[in-house]
């Protein structure tokens, strides 16, 4: 996409500049004298490793965080953005990195929140809001469920609501902080279309993503942050995936290689799932998982992958079918049983499902090991726990200045590593990861997959659920789930993005 609207001649195109912005958290310089500028009608991508300071910069722009120094100017006029409403007032609209919805509100209520200040008598202008919302739906080409409380929606539908909210406001600049992290390609495509429309109508887009192909596809320019400061700014045209990766990480990173699944083909079966069901989301799942094997699960949003994973650890109770673990029937009554049997799930939404946000990293790294303790009266040894936490932080390369810091202060990718570390401490034999690399940068993703393959090498069996089909290259086999059933199994070398996507959609009998 080229910035047709941002030609020099366009006098009306507005301009957003952030100059010399700095922000410190305690001793840490999250953002250090960063300067970026964005014009109406163009897409500026912001790239950088986890913790590089992208979201902090965005939050400063949104009035959520206050910069220690620096200036923000709109069309050359300095503005003070001290509160989120001020940002909205200046025509800035955001999708923040974390889901921020009111669970009991419907999609429409969530989209309307804070958007309707202008209504008369303080009354809610329901009709107008609904009209606006359906316009947004049309633009997205996606039916966002408007009248269902969002806590009944799937995670990706929730993201659609979040995106819808951002688009409901007529904005001059739109900031999207990893909007596609939870999307499959299909939904991402819809978003790209919307971004195109936006830029065509003169809106400037600040776009943050760890999906580098996507960045190259949709942006006009790229600014790379490293350790809080600008490491370089580029015209997108002059970049490739590998040069961008190098700019972000500072050194070369190899692309994920397809695994040769021969290592584990002869290994004994560890987990055998037979016709597992819990209608309506899971209506018949059968598969085997061998020792030392990494198996991927591909599927569209709502195909029931998360439900399947929850059944495996007993977080929900199956309505039928059976599971055999190491030759013995396995029917966990809850995650406790599962963990004790060596089966763990790394859940898909880390903030609501996996972290004690306001607690320390150390404590977050100990929860699962408490959960797997035999007796509640077992002794807890804080020093030992501290040492274990320090070890995990080192091992997984979690970027922090101490394990006693609250996990809240970590960047998204590092939080994800804490989640993985928490579960790894129980030394699981079966590890189920639901979207393990959501919001994780290329370098860290590499590391997380390195950890996963390492575990598999040590004999653990791993099930990886991912909507990023490129990632599934690391798997020995990929299962495809559709409408609650496993409909296909694809060996590693054939698990290309295109093939998997086709299988996800195909209604006919696939070649198993």
């Amino acid at each position: 996409m080229s910035g047709t609207c941002s030609s020099e001649g366009a006098v009306t195109a507005s301009r957003l500049e952030m100059t010399d912005i700095s922000k410190r958290f305690g001793g840490l310089r999250a953002v250090d004298r960063v300067t970026i500028s964005l014009r109406g009608g163009e897409v500026l991508a912001l790239c950088g490793a986890n913790g590089a300071g992208k979201s902090t910069l965005v939050r400063i722009l949104a009035g959520v965080e206050h910069a220690d120094s620096g200036q923000i100017a709109l069309d050359g006029v300095p503005v003070v953005i001290d509160r989120p409403e001020t940002a909205a007032h200046h025509g800035l609209s955001f999708v923040h990195q974390e889901l921020n919805l009111v669970p009991k509100f419907t999609g429409l209520q969530n989209m309307a929140m804070g958007a309707d200040r202008q209504s008369r008598l303080g009354l809610v202008a329901t009709k107008r809001l609904r009209r606006l919302a359906s316009e947004v739906q049309e633009r997205l080409g996606y039916r966002i469920p408007l009248d269902v409380p969002v806590d009944r929606l799937s995670v990706s539908d929730r993201w659609m609501v979040s995106l819808g909210r951002c688009l409901m406001r007529s904005a001059k600049f739109v900031v999207l902080d990893e909007p596609t992290a939870s999307f499959t390609d299909d939904e991402a495509e819809k978003l790209y279309k919307v971004i195109k429309e936006l830029t065509d109508s003169g809106v400037g887009v600040l776009y943050i993503s760890h999906r580098l192909e996507e960045v190259l596809e949709i942006s006009d320019r790229v600014t790379v942050l490293r350790n809080g400061s600008v490491a370089g700014s580029y015209e997108t045209a002059e970049l490739t995936v590998s040069s961008l990766t190098k700019a972000i990480v500072g050194h070369e990173v190899e692309a994920l290689a397809h695994r040769r699944g021969d290592a584990s083909t002869g290994a004994p079966i560890r987990l055998s799932v037979r016709d597992l069901r819990r209608p309506p989301n899971v209506v018949g799942a059968s598969f085997d998982l061998r020792r030392g094997e990494i198996v991927g699960v591909a599927g569209l949003v709502g195909s029931g992958r998360t439900e399947l994973a929850r059944l495996l650890i007993g977080a929900d109770q199956a309505a039928g079918g059976e599971i055999i673990l190491d030759g013995k029937p396995y029917a966990p009554r809850g995650p406790h049983d599962a963990i004790r049997a060596g089966v763990v799930l790394v859940p898909e939404e880390r903030r609501s499902q996996a972290l004690l946000l306001s607690e320390s990293i150390e404590r977050n790294l100990a929860v699962a090991s408490h959960g797997s303790a035999r007796h509640l009266m077992c002794r807890f040894r804080p020093r030992r726990s501290h040492r274990a936490a320090v070890d995990i932080v080192d091992e997984l390369g979690i970027k922090t200045d101490g394990v006693t810091r609250p996990v809240l202060s970590l960047s998204g990718g590092n939080q994800q590593k804490v989640v993985v570390g928490n579960y790894l401490r129980t030394r699981p034999s079966v590890l189920v990861l639901d979207e393990p690399t959501v919001g994780v940068d290329v370098g860290s993703r590499e590391e997380i997959y390195g950890i996963i393959t390492g575990l598999a090498g040590a004999g653990a069996s791993i099930l990886v659920i991912s909507s990023d089909f490129d990632e599934l290259a690391v798997c020995d086999r990929v299962l495809v789930m559709r409408h609650g059933a496993i409909v296909a199994e694809v060996p590693s070398h054939r698990a290309t993005k295109g093939h998997l996507t086709r299988l996800c959609f195909e209604a006919e009998q696939p070649a198993a």
């Binding site: 949104a62 959520v64 509160r83 989120p84 409403e85 940002a87 909205a88 955001f94 923040h96 921020n100 919805l101 009111v102 669970p103 009991k104 509100f105 209520q109 969530n110 309307a112 929140m113 804070g114 958007a115 309707d116 200040r117 209504s119 008598l121 303080g122 009354l123 809610v124 996606y142 039916r143 469920p145 799937s154 539908d157 909210r165 209608p279 309506p280 989301n281 209506v283 949003v301 709502g302 109770q317 409408h483 609650g484």
Partner: protein, 336 residues
């Protein structure tokens, strides 16, 4: 796309379990109201000539009016996710202030009532400021502010009830009737309607609900969370004060701790109400149903002549079962 998937699956599993689910869902949604219905039916059967009369209905509604005011006000902080433990003390204080002004300064009734409600507004404001600016947990903040309100009350009245020498027109507020129905019933219905509109049809009300549901999300969407919470405390304080005034107008004098007893009953009503029709969300109609249920329960106890201990067992059970049945049913609905 999602919609299509959902539909086809729903059809596929429209089997026996779906009947069960419908039943559970009905219980979940209407269970609490059904309990109220059961209570009314039982009482009608037991005491047909006394209970099921229009006189008694008016009586029950009249008894509900005062607790309704304080519980409706409390609903607002509860909606935004805060507690207010000062309401009982506010009610007591406002009654004392109103009566003292009328007695000692010879203030007119309406002026005195306005002043008393102003007291409630101020207490609400102080609560709100302590909670949002000092960032104190609302339970502690309101406990502390409430304690200070007791002190002020004591300073004013010296621990003695404040009686009015000429209280007829003040008493009229509680005792007067229109078309055979006492004024308090109208007051209750009127304010319920106003507060319902406020919570459900205004931006402020929606913002309150948003703040209660997810304050971070609300803030990021441009809701001025602090201001909204503050306003909810102010509303709550004002209604607590109104309760105190109505209470004083029932007896023509203000007892130093006359309103204290309404604290727990208001919480009970609001929580009972949160299980009415909705799943654990506080709302105006629910609170009103809660207040009326409690009033009917008490009326039933008074009419049947149960021993004292039954009164407590019954009230406790009503609360636990009323909320529990609905809650359990909703969980079942989700499970099947």
């Amino acid at each position: 796309m999602t919609v299509i998937v959902e539909d086809s699956i729903k059809e596929a599993s429209a089997s026996s379990s779906s009947t069960a689910r419908v039943v559970w869902r009905l219980i979940g949604q209407y269970g609490t109201i059904a309990m109220l219905g059961l209570l009314i039916v039982t009482m009608t059967a037991l005491e047909p000539s006394v209970f099921a009369t229009s006189d008694n209905l008016v009586n029950v509604l009249n008894q509900s009016a005062i607790p309704a005011m304080i519980a409706l006000g409390l609903t607002f902080p509860l909606v935004t996710g805060d507690f207010d433990l000062s309401i009982g003390n506010t009610a007591s204080l406002s009654g004392v202030v109103a009566c003292t002004l009328m007695r000692d300064v010879d203030m007119s009734i309406w002026m005195a009532i306005s002043a008393a409600i102003m007291v409630g507004l101020v207490i609400g404001l102080v609560n709100g400021v302590v909670v949002t600016v000092l960032n104190v947990n609302s339970l502690v903040a309101t406990l502390g502010v409430g304690t200070m309100a007791i002190g002020v009350n004591y300073k004013i009245a010296g621990g003695q009830p404040v009686g009015l020498s000429d209280s007829e027109s003040f008493l009229e507020i509680s005792l007067g009737t229109l078309l055979g129905i006492p004024y308090p019933v109208y007051i209750m219905i009127g304010f319920t309607a106003v507060l319902w509109l406020l919570l459900n049809r205004t931006v402020l009300g929606q913002s309150m609900q948003a703040v209660g549901g997810n304050p971070v999300a609300a803030r990021l969407s441009g809701v001025r969370v602090e201001r909204v919470r503050l306003v909810s405390f102010v509303i709550c304080g004002a209604f607590a004060a109104l309760t105190g005034v109505l209470l004083a107008s029932r007896t023509g004098s203000a007892a130093v701790s006359g309103g204290d007893g309404y604290l727990l009953s208001a919480f009970a009503a609001a929580f009972f109400g949160s299980a009415v029709l909705r799943d654990g969300q506080f709302h105006i109609i629910g609170t009103l149903v809660g207040v009326i249920t409690v009033a009917i329960g008490f009326n039933a106890i008074a009419l049947t002549g149960m021993a004292t201990y039954w009164q407590y067992l019954f009230q406790g059970l009503l609360l636990v079962l009323g909320v529990g049945v609905g809650s359990l049913a909703r969980r079942r609905t989700a499970a099947t």
